[in-house]
Symmetry: D2
Subunit: 437 residues, 4 copies
């Protein structure tokens, strides 16, 4: 049997790589994954999965950082232009992207796998040494780029689905595949949890390519040191003025923001553990000869614990408020996302360990556990919710060499990881089903 699963995936491998490249080329950032969702929905629908979409799987008001209507509509139109089924796109109207696919409509789902599918709002490299550019699958969408491997996650999810379908008679219960939107900015998980997507889940596995696992054959079964995080936008509103003739009449929002940015990064390190702060985006001013009357900053804090993150957030608010006061400009803060920390259950770590043990692809000396994460993934919201209802969860990392770091426009990974990653998850689902049967 083991050989059979391995052979199935070996056979499917060229297609999996193809799906990854297709998803890569259609990179869509959080809440605009129209084409991506439609692509997955069509394939999973054809395979006989029971699909849920839209407000069924997302609690609308919990969605933070949803783009403006014009942006959503342009993205939806683009998806249709690029071939997405208009009826599916219509079901996602207003940015209700993402997909939940059940192997069986009932009985109660027991096993869940989560795949995040969004891209980053950044430019992809066009350099010749960047394989997606060279081999012509770079993002067609300006300012959108799969620089975090979620294209691979989507392709793995689709592969897992197709194999599980074929092995369905060996799986007595339900398997739920969760294709989560808007992981970047940690915004998509909470609305799914609040819409009931985790109801009934007893076992939960998610995985990420690369990150702390940078060699083919490497496998991290569980992580520690998730960073809690807050995402927020600060807006300053001043008074414009002619920069040459009446500079003193302006209230300069750009300088307030520059002062804030510097002093935010100068918030002291904390002896109790890791913290982070980043102003990832700053946009201020209009014309060159107008005292800038408006500035917007997109900011995030992180902390090794919720307390550390809270302390960073409180200090950041103090800095932002007084930078505004210094320049006599108005200040508005808007929370755009955030998530807590998380922990991996030893039981689920063991399930993965045994599944990997049967696969020569994973090199025993590179299989580890309890590895430092030091970053955030809102998978933590799913994990906490599952654990709260008595289930078990883990978050794994599957090793692959990278062409450049995560969130870099030249990010790329070794596609040889895709089929084994799918195989690992299939084996884990079968093992969990067997235990349960």
């Amino acid at each position: 049997m083991a050989e059979t699963i391995h052979d199935m995936l070996r056979e499917l491998e060229p297609e999996i790589i193809g799906w990854r490249r297709t998803l890569h080329a259609h990179a869509e950032s959080g809440w605009t994954e129209f084409w991506t969702t439609a692509f997955l929905a069509e394939a999973l629908g054809r395979a006989g999965f029971h699909l849920k979409m839209g407000a069924e799987i997302l609690d609308g008001p919990s969605r933070m950082g949803v783009p403006e209507d014009a942006v959503l509509e342009a993205a939806a139109r683009r998806a249709v232009d690029q071939g997405a089924d208009p009826k599916l796109v219509e079901r996602m109207r207003g940015g209700f992207t993402g997909l939940v696919a059940d192997l069986r409509p009932e009985p109660a789902p027991t096993i869940a796998l989560r795949f995040d599918i969004d891209a980053l709002p950044m430019e992809e490299s066009g350099a010749a040494e960047h394989r997606p550019a060279r081999e012509d699958f770079a993002s067609r969408n300006a300012g959108q780029c799969h620089a975090c491997g979620h294209d691979g996650h989507g392709a793995i999810g689709l592969a897992v689905a197709l194999i599980l379908r074929r092995l369905a008679e060996r799986i007595p219960g339900n398997v739920r595949l969760i294709f989560q939107p808007a992981e970047e900015g940690v915004r998509g998980a909470l609305p799914m949890v609040r819409a009931g997507v985790v109801d009934g889940i007893r076992a939960f596995i998610a995985c990420h390519l690369g990150f702390r696992a940078l060699h083919t054959g490497e496998l991290i079964l569980g992580l520690r040191d998730f960073l809690a995080t807050s995402k927020f936008d600060a807006t300053y509103t001043g008074v414009p003025s002619h920069a040459g003739a009446f500079p003193e009449q302006g209230r300069n929002a750009l300088l307030a923001a520059a002062t804030a940015a510097l002093n935010l990064h100068a918030i002291p390190r904390h002896s109790a553990g890791a913290t982070r702060i980043t102003v990832g985006r700053l946009e201020a001013g209009e014309g060159r000869n107008i005292i800038p009357a408006r500035a917007v900053m997109r900011i995030e804090t992180r902390g090794a614990t919720t307390e550390l993150n809270d302390s960073m957030y409180a200090r950041a608010q103090r800095v932002l408020e007084h930078a505004a006061g210094m320049y006599d400009v108005g200040f508005e803060n808007r929370v755009m996302g955030g998530c807590s920390g998380a922990r991996c259950d030893p039981a689920m770590v063991e399930v993965l360990r045994r599944a990997a043990a049967d696969m020569p692809f994973f090199r025993p000396e590179l299989i580890r556990d309890g590895v430092h994460f030091g970053a955030s993934d809102d998978v933590s919201e799913f994990m906490s919710a599952v654990q709260a209802q008595g289930g078990a969860a883990t978050y794994a990392m599957i090793g692959t060499e990278l062409a450049a770091g995560h969130h870099n426009g030249r990010f790329d990974f070794n596609e040889a990881v895709l089929a084994p990653a799918a195989e690992l998850l299939v084996r884990a689902v079968l093992a969990l089903s067997a235990a349960r049967a």
Copy 2:
């Protein structure tokens, strides 16, 4: 006769105000004045003026700060959508906006009037107390706003043209009406001068509404203390990285720009005279959780003399260069515009003084000369070129109450100034013609 001119303009006044409002609603910033130019060209063509457009009146390579092709094309499309003649728009392809209209094709032009017609790249207020919003002539074009009165200048120019046409038999020579694009950013005059637009001009008058003249009936016949200015864009290029997981791997262009902005504004005042520095626009970073790898600043310096401006520019370059060095990011500087100072000729000041003396609208006690300007207008390029070929020039300001300062989204003026402004210019042209005859 004096009564006749006055009566003509009185009669025309409702139309002039209408033109101003139409231009206001179609605000277009520098090098995108497609609708505006087409509107003027149609009216002046109908009136029998000899028109020149495109590369005839603009030296292409001298045009600084031309928007990217996509922006130009979108603006051109928008102009056609809003009713502009596609053939006229096609003649401006690539951002060759603006218009030169001669009363006679020959003999050599002797008298020139200049009107700048561009809007500012800023949002107009939608507040109820803002008349353009209340009376429904606010800008239809997002991010474009006539907040400096150039809509009025265009309307005055059109009024002057129609009246001069009717008085043509009293004008033996030529009168040239120059509708200049891209005055904001002081970019439009030099390409016009280099394309020969000032050839043969012996007398030159330009005027501006408001600014140093803030009462109806006030008139400044000539200004002193023009500020020389440099306009430039600084671009920083760093390295992106995942802000939570690997903050140390990034090279932060946003922080380099924030440091530069603060230190640029901290360049010391100069004992030899007025200086200015403004970072009018700063855009940095991509996503919230990516160390920002790119920042662009739009900057200007000014100085009461060319030496003072040069010294500000040199200091600014030093700050920009070392802010980049501090964060180990690349730095590129691109000059986008600039102009020298200027002086008004007493002879032309006298012409205006006599013209105003016959108009009860201008209150004698509010007619002044040699007033401090303390700002920049690239009318200085026209003035210097005219003076270099032996001609005389002046730059006047016509008083009007303002609802808010120049370059403020609530800027508006008292439209009662429009007809008298046109009358003043018509009278000046007639007086110059008479002297010459």
Copy 3:
């Protein structure tokens, strides 16, 4: 007679230069001019002048920026060690320095000359090319330096006194010589005015070496554009902490001050005229591994008008307050000095013009009036007070080449200016006396 005055001063010249060098070597900054005052008091006492000192000539509570007792006492002790008469020093106890010397005890004084005598709190250059170092009259007092020419002012004042004494029978009224302490920081004049030092003065002259007059033979009879100014100290009080072990427990006063300093200098220029802001001194923190809990800044603002200075002061307070808020540190502001603007009376300008006309030393083409000052001198307090009681005043500048700019540790001037400067003042006094007789 003219020859006689000239001859007298010619003969006295070596002594005047010697006095200047002696004063230079005993540089004492504001409110510590113990040796300097004692030196002058002894010489003027011997010459028969009627002397006033201490609380008679200074309103105690009006003296701002008085050093701490320990500093005053150390300076007083040093003066005695350097040979000052202990009884005189005792009369200045508590920093009551400065001297008023009347030619006659009565009748009412009519003519006053003011000489400022304090040094700057800065290090003098020891370089070989610096004449005071090379010729061994550099400051013996560490951190105290005559880098503004007040040593010359004191020497001129003494020379004038001795000559006037000899010409006393030609002077029917009184002449009052005011030796003002603490001009740097504009602190000494107001307490003198409030103590009644200007009572009865009808004509007032003060002069400064160099500044806007940089050639031997140059003379500025009167100045315009005095800068109003405010002097103040800002103190931040935070919380110290171990910088390695508990950085987050500190509240960093040093970073608050650094932020304040940058943003203070970034206060925008003003279109209505010249402004200035300087953080001249910043001291923050204790040990290297302690989060700095205290910072002190010595700051000044200036403005071409009192309104401009007030606006700078208000903006500075806003910046200081919010930089404190940003770092959650306490903020205390203490006003340390300040003065208004001033104007020169044409009548007094004429007196000086005629006096200079008789001296070949002053080159007619280099004698000017109404020259731009663009700085502050609290002589303005004397001038305003004299003018308020119906008198006339002027502030002159006497040209001399400088080795380096004012307030630079290599400042030095051409001593050939000293005797002619004294001669000019003697002639002015005689002319005023003659007019009055």
Copy 4:
């Protein structure tokens, strides 16, 4: 026997507390511990220890951050004025403070204890709630304060010495007591190591009061996570100028330093572990109205590993260099200290554990090992040197409640810890001696 040691220390306790208070009152910062060293030398000499001082125990050129001669001389004079033996003080001339006391001159020393004895350069609180102020043993030396417990360390060392002397017949080998100067700034250990102070040491113990152990009865037997650190001074040299009259002629060292300070603190956190940066002291400028021409910053970086600290140091140099370039001022960097990380040997941890087990004072549930340090102590230089020659070492922390954190002017500890701390060390020495015998 155990009771005997306990009883001896119980009896000695009032004296130990007295010594601590005496040392507290005579706080002396690094390289000026003249009084402190003399006090200990006299007591240990009387007790029959063999003393070494001066250049015998300190390699002169390795001493970093030695104060200027004038400061050293003033401190030496003050020590003599406060009763120190002039002959002893003379042996420390030039800042060669600290003491090494051997129980026996031979055979080879085997066991060493280290006590650091310097105070911090900061002001002690005078508040009534601060016990040293209230009970009249606050520092008599302005700007010097025992805010890190080294006064307690010295008192413990003296107590240990006196008890060991009485138990000498039970100790076959030598015991060396090292009283280290200049631990603050991590400057004193390396010169001692280089002078051969660790020669022959096989077992090494040091301890610190408080820090990570904040309860009476708590004991940390060994620490992990020492921070490597670099200490350095940055000096900026600009050009002074009159701040009102010629602001543009200055080159502002204060603003360069302010910019550097902000941007140093904004150096990003590192994903590989803890880092620190602090500008602990900044002094810039002279008078209020002089553009500041000089600035000095005392800076430190730290890192969880030497690599992390090196990376912080390299980034800091880049920031410092370019802040200088931005303001066109000269930059000089001077390394003032630094130390590597360290590790504790399990064998020595066990020795302490057994010694503590016999003392009811230490509560078993509060005895820990392998505790996170997260700070620096140049005890690491001794430990590395001992380990390099085959010896074993540990660094312990002895719990005590604190009135305020380390390096805070209100720091104070519970003196009940002193006698038990000495007892623990005596027991450890006896156990090591017994093992060896």
